[in-house]
């Protein structure tokens, strides 16, 4: 049995660029991207809310595509350019979307917020002025248990104008 476990634990070197910084690390083959980013790189802004890819708290933009980083192994991200919540603000200045979340009280506990912001960022890049229906569709993969979404939708709408 212990030999089997040793096999599962095999690791390899990967290189990823996150928010403009390049990281080279040895990573266990079975490690999820979200655990790699949080535990190995100390970028703890992205969160984990489920085991099943339902909640979206770990959403990141990988090579321009929105992904749930718990649905991807770290080794699969080798060579990728990744954007996380930590990269949204310019220094201390919040992005228009972040500012809009603040103004519209679109967050309470703030746990889903990083994933929600990444999903909304991906939406606004593709569709700078989304309708309410388009916003709802784009955010349907992100669970929030505090706000009931109404203020989040208003915040994204306002940021899109």
């Amino acid at each position: 049995m212990s030999d089997d476990t040793a096999t599962v634990s095999s690791s390899r070197a990967i290189t990823v660029t996150i928010n403009g910084t390049t990281y080279e690390r040895e990573v266990e083959a079975r490690k999820l991207l979200i655990h790699f980013v949080r535990d190995d790189l100390d970028l703890t802004g992205s969160h984990i809310g489920c085991d099943t890819g339902n909640c979206g708290a770990c959403s990141m933009i990988v090579d321009g595509t929105l992904v749930k980083s718990c649905m991807m192994l770290a080794v699969q991200a080798d060579g990728a350019t990744i954007e996380t919540v930590e990269g949204l603000a310019s220094g201390d200045e919040l992005s228009v979307l972040q500012q809009s979340f603040r103004e519209h009280h679109a967050l309470q506990c703030g746990y889903c917020t990083p994933g929600m912001l990444m999903s909304a960022t991906a939406l606004l890049r593709e569709n700078p002025s989304p309708s309410e229906a388009e916003i709802k569709k784009a955010l349907q993969g992100n669970i929030c248990r505090c706000t009931g979404y109404w203020n989040i939708i208003e915040a994204v709408k306002a940021a899109g104008k």
Binding site: R30, D39, D51, E86, H105, I153
Partner: protein, 821 residues
């Protein structure tokens, strides 16, 4: 999705910060991914805990072998129930016998009692390795028959979970107020409802439970970084069990990813963490997996109501009711049987029922233990009273709006003493109902009903009118167990002025998104005459701040009363000290001639003569030679707020159980597709009255959140077990919480009826009383009127249940009977 806030007439416009929707101080860090949640805490050499959990609902543990797991390189160690039982004592039980006799430990000892119960803990270098190694722990079980239906728990042939208790009955009590027999004698009609069921669910905070625990061997103290929302309760559970004083348990929280009551009872897991940190000589991280949370943590109380009878006059006046409540506690009493009394905060709901009898029993079953969940125990009872109102109206062909208005406690009766001695502080329920109905365009509802019918849909309207009772009198726990030495309540705050004039506030609370840093700063700024930006409220909770007391925490709708009154008290002490110092420094000017403004203490008639706060802080903290000996000023003030409570009369079960009673009236409009039972909420209004609002935007956010959770609970969310005791909804695939696409249009409204019993006129709020559940149940029943006339008898009505009610309305009709007295 327009959101309307009705400008209430009675709002007294306030000057200053309180009353304004100040943007939250918390937001900047949270928006940048710079919050500090428990799993973000890291320590050198930290090990990761994985719990091995029971696959059986009920079984004897015949053997445990951890040797293979411990052989793996990178595995630091394990903990078993046997070790726990030798190192700790069972947790203190709140119940009288028989519940008092059960022996609850941090891990299962000898027996498992629900699927997902923690049996062994494994600690390893990484999360992944801990999980892998857990697979190597060998546990032999001897399965027993499970108890999954609370209604069968007391049957003679039913297996017993806790032999020490003798049966599955944990606690029972009879509550009776007024003259119930006389009420039924006076009634023109009696409506009987044989069974109603409030289902099992919880708020599923997006962040699961967790902790990072360090042990300082030299001083024998644990530092527990966690997301427990009631450290005071955890401490009194953990200290005696671990045989240590509470000074040895230092609780620290910062950002918490939602709590909703579900994070009150993590003390068993925290004990396991503490034992492992000490045993292994290294910090340990426990981060619960989502599946673990669903399987094992804090399900809301499932409750049955049997043999209900309601005494009614022919004009629709409600006289009284009697019922038997049966609470399914799950396998352990982790906060229970407090649910057996908490409901009594709102005995008559919003109504003038004078005569009430309720026989309460709580039983153990082979399901996850229940714990507080947003609206804890009152929600179950309020759902019952609202169901009763709408079933009575349905059966007697009365208008649900008129029945409510006829029976609501009136504004001119406030403060109103309920049959069991609770004092509703203020409110105008009928005005709230009118506002809520106006927001959904109730006047045009009949034409909308016709329009829906033309499209083949059944439209229904439902009302949920509830109370969010806040600031507990913990003396009510003695109605459960007279031996308990709890009563009253308290909360703490400190405010200090530091060397460079920094205003620093600490709280005792453990906020999970309620914006305490912001609202506390608003109260401080108004008193000190400065900007909210000048007020620094420390994030989270730390026992080392010494700004906590026995009941500190964030639960039970109380911060706006307990927390903010403590802040107000501490700030007023500081303001007085600043003036005292100013009086000396400004040459003996009387304190009455001074004012605090623009970050200074200054002479009212001569604002040029001002001493900046920075100078005050510097003088007291670093430049104090020559000050008068009798100048009693530290500029570091601590205040403990203690609400005015008496111990209830235990014989009569009578007394005021909470200080404030915020109110909610929600109206839901649904459209049902009769072919399938599928339905949508097409319109929704929520009107809230929580007295004075310090920050209306935060209040509205709480109203919205509670509404969304209620919609989820009413339509989808259920912790459903099969006959073998397997949880069928252990993750977010099967447990459907609302998504963006599920949300109806919402109009919110607010009325402010300041509480006469609180210093700021505020009332605790946030739980929302489950108003949305009641409103949707009522709306579904209304939509089915004339289409089989089914009675909604369960609090969760997914599409298949609506379809069943359409197909077989008689099965629900059989639950109801009307007799003429």
């Amino acid at each position: 999705m327009s959101t309307t806030t009705v400008a209430p007439e009675r709002v007294e416009l306030q000057k200053g910060w309180a009353g304004q929707s100040v943007p939250r101080k918390e937001d900047k860090r949270l928006l940048q991914g710079e919050g500090l949640f428990v799993d973000d805490v890291k320590r050198h050499g930290m090990g990761y805990i994985h719990f091995v959990r029971s696959p059986y609902a009920h079984a004897h543990i015949t053997s445990i072998d951890v040797s293979k797991a411990e052989e793996i390189k990178g595995v630091y160690g394990t903990l078993t129930g046997e070790e726990v039982a030798s190192l700790t004592d069972p947790f203190f039980q709140l119940s009288t016998p028989p519940g008092a006799h059960i022996k609850d430990y941090a891990l299962a000892v000898g027996k498992v009692r629900y699927v997902g119960e923690a049996v062994v803990a494994v600690v390893a270098e990484t999360r992944e390795l801990a999980r892998d190694a857990s697979e190597l722990v060998e546990i032999e079980y001897e399965p027993l028959a499970p108890v999954v239906d609370a209604r069968r728990a007391r049957d003679a042939e039913t297996p017993v979970l806790h032999d020490d208790a003798g049966s599955n009955l944990m606690w029972e009590g009879v509550y009776e107020w007024g003259d119930v027999d006389a009420a039924f004698a006076e009634a023109d009609q009696v409506v009987k409802i044989s069974e109603l069921h409030f289902h099992r669910f919880n708020s599923t905070p997006l962040e699961t439970d967790g902790a990072v625990v360090e042990y300082n061997r030299g001083v024998g103290q644990w530092t527990i970084h966690c997301n427990n929302q009631f450290p005071g309760f955890a401490a009194i559970m953990m200290g005696p069990a671990m045989r240590v004083g509470l000074d040895k348990l230092r609780f620290v929280t910062q950002d918490i990813g939602g709590g909703f009551g579900n994070k009150i009872t993590s003390h068993p897991q925290l004990v396991a963490c503490c034992l492992l940190a000490r045993k292994l000589g290294r910090p340990v991280n426990w981060t619960e997996w989502r599946t673990d949370f669903h399987l094992s943590m804090s399900h809301g109380n499932e409750r049955w109501f049997h043999d209900t009878e309601v005494a009614v006059k022919s004009d629709g006046t409600l006289l009284g009711f009697r019922t038997k409540a049966l609470d399914d506690a799950g396998a352990w009493l982790r906060y229970e049987p407090l649910g057996g009394v908490i409901w009594a905060q709102v005995v008559p709901g919003m109504y003038r029922w004078k005569h009430v009898k309720l026989e309460f029993a709580q039983v153990a079953t082979n399901k996850a233990p229940v714990s507080p969940n947003r609206g804890y125990s009152r929600m179950q009872h309020l759902w019952f009273t609202e169901r009763v109102i709408d079933i009575v109206a349905h059966e007697l062909d009365l208008d649900p709006v008129e029945v409510r208005k006829r029976n609501y406690i009136r504004a001119d009766e406030m403060p109103y003493t309920t049959p069991n001695g609770c004092v509703y502080d203020s409110g105008d329920y009928a005005a709230m109902l009118d506002t809520a109905l106006g927001l959904i365009g109730y006047d045009a509802m009949e034409s909308r009903r016709s329009d829906a019918a033309a499209r083949g849909k059944f439209l229904g309207v439902g009302i949920g009118s509830t109370l969010d009772s806040g600031t507990n009198n913990f003396g009510q726990s003695r109605m459960i167990n007279p031996e308990l030495q709890f009563s009253g309540n308290n909360e703490v705050a400190t405010v200090k002025l530091d060397i460079f004039g920094e205003i620093v506030v600490t709280l005792g609370t453990t906020p999970q998104g309620q914006g305490h840093e912001t609202t506390a700063a608003q109260v401080v700024a108004d008193i000190l005459g400065c900007s909210v930006d000048d007020v620094h409220v420390r994030a989270g909770h730390d026992d080392y701040w010494n700004s906590h007391a026995g009941f500190s925490g964030t639960y039970a709708s109380q911060f706006a009363v307990t927390g903010l009154t403590a802040v107000k008290g501490a700030t007023e002490l500081l303001a007085a000290e600043i003036k005292k110092l100013g009086s000396v420094i400004l040459g003996g000017v009387p304190e009455e001639a001074l004012e605090l403004a623009e970050g200074t203490v200054r002479i009212k008639d001569n604002p040029e003569a001002a001493l900046p706060f920075m100078a005050c802080g510097a003088i007291i903290n670093a430049n104090n030679a020559g000050l008068p000996e009798d100048l009693d000023v530290t500029l570091n003030c601590r205040y403990v707020y203690r609400p005015p409570f008496e111990v209830p009369d235990l014989e009569r079960k009578y007394g005021n159980l909470t200080l404030t009673y915020a109110a909610q009236v929600h109206v839901a409009v649904v459209e049902i597709d009769p072919e399938t039972g599928y339905y949508e909420v097409v319109d929704y209004s929520a009107v809230d009255d929580c007295g004075k609002r310090i920050n209306p935007q935060i209040v509205e956010g709480q109203v919205m959140g509670a509404t969304a959770q209620a919609i989820g609970a009413a339509m989808h969310e259920v912790f459903e077990y099969d006959e073998d005791g397997n949880l069928l909804t252990p993750n977010f695939y099967d447990y459907h919480v609302p998504h963006t696409l599920d949300m109806p249009p919402l109009a919110t409204g607010a009325i402010e009826s300041p509480s006469p019993f609180t210093e700021l006129g505020t009332k605790g709020m946030g739980e929302g009383g489950g108003a949305g559940i009641h409103a949707i149940c009522a709306a579904v029943q209304d939509a089915l009127r004339g289409h089989g006339d089914a009675i909604v008898w369960d609090s969760c009505n997914p599409y298949h249940r609506v379809w069943e009610m359409l197909q077989h309305p008689e099965q629900t009709r059989d639950l109801v009977e009307v007799t003429n007295a």
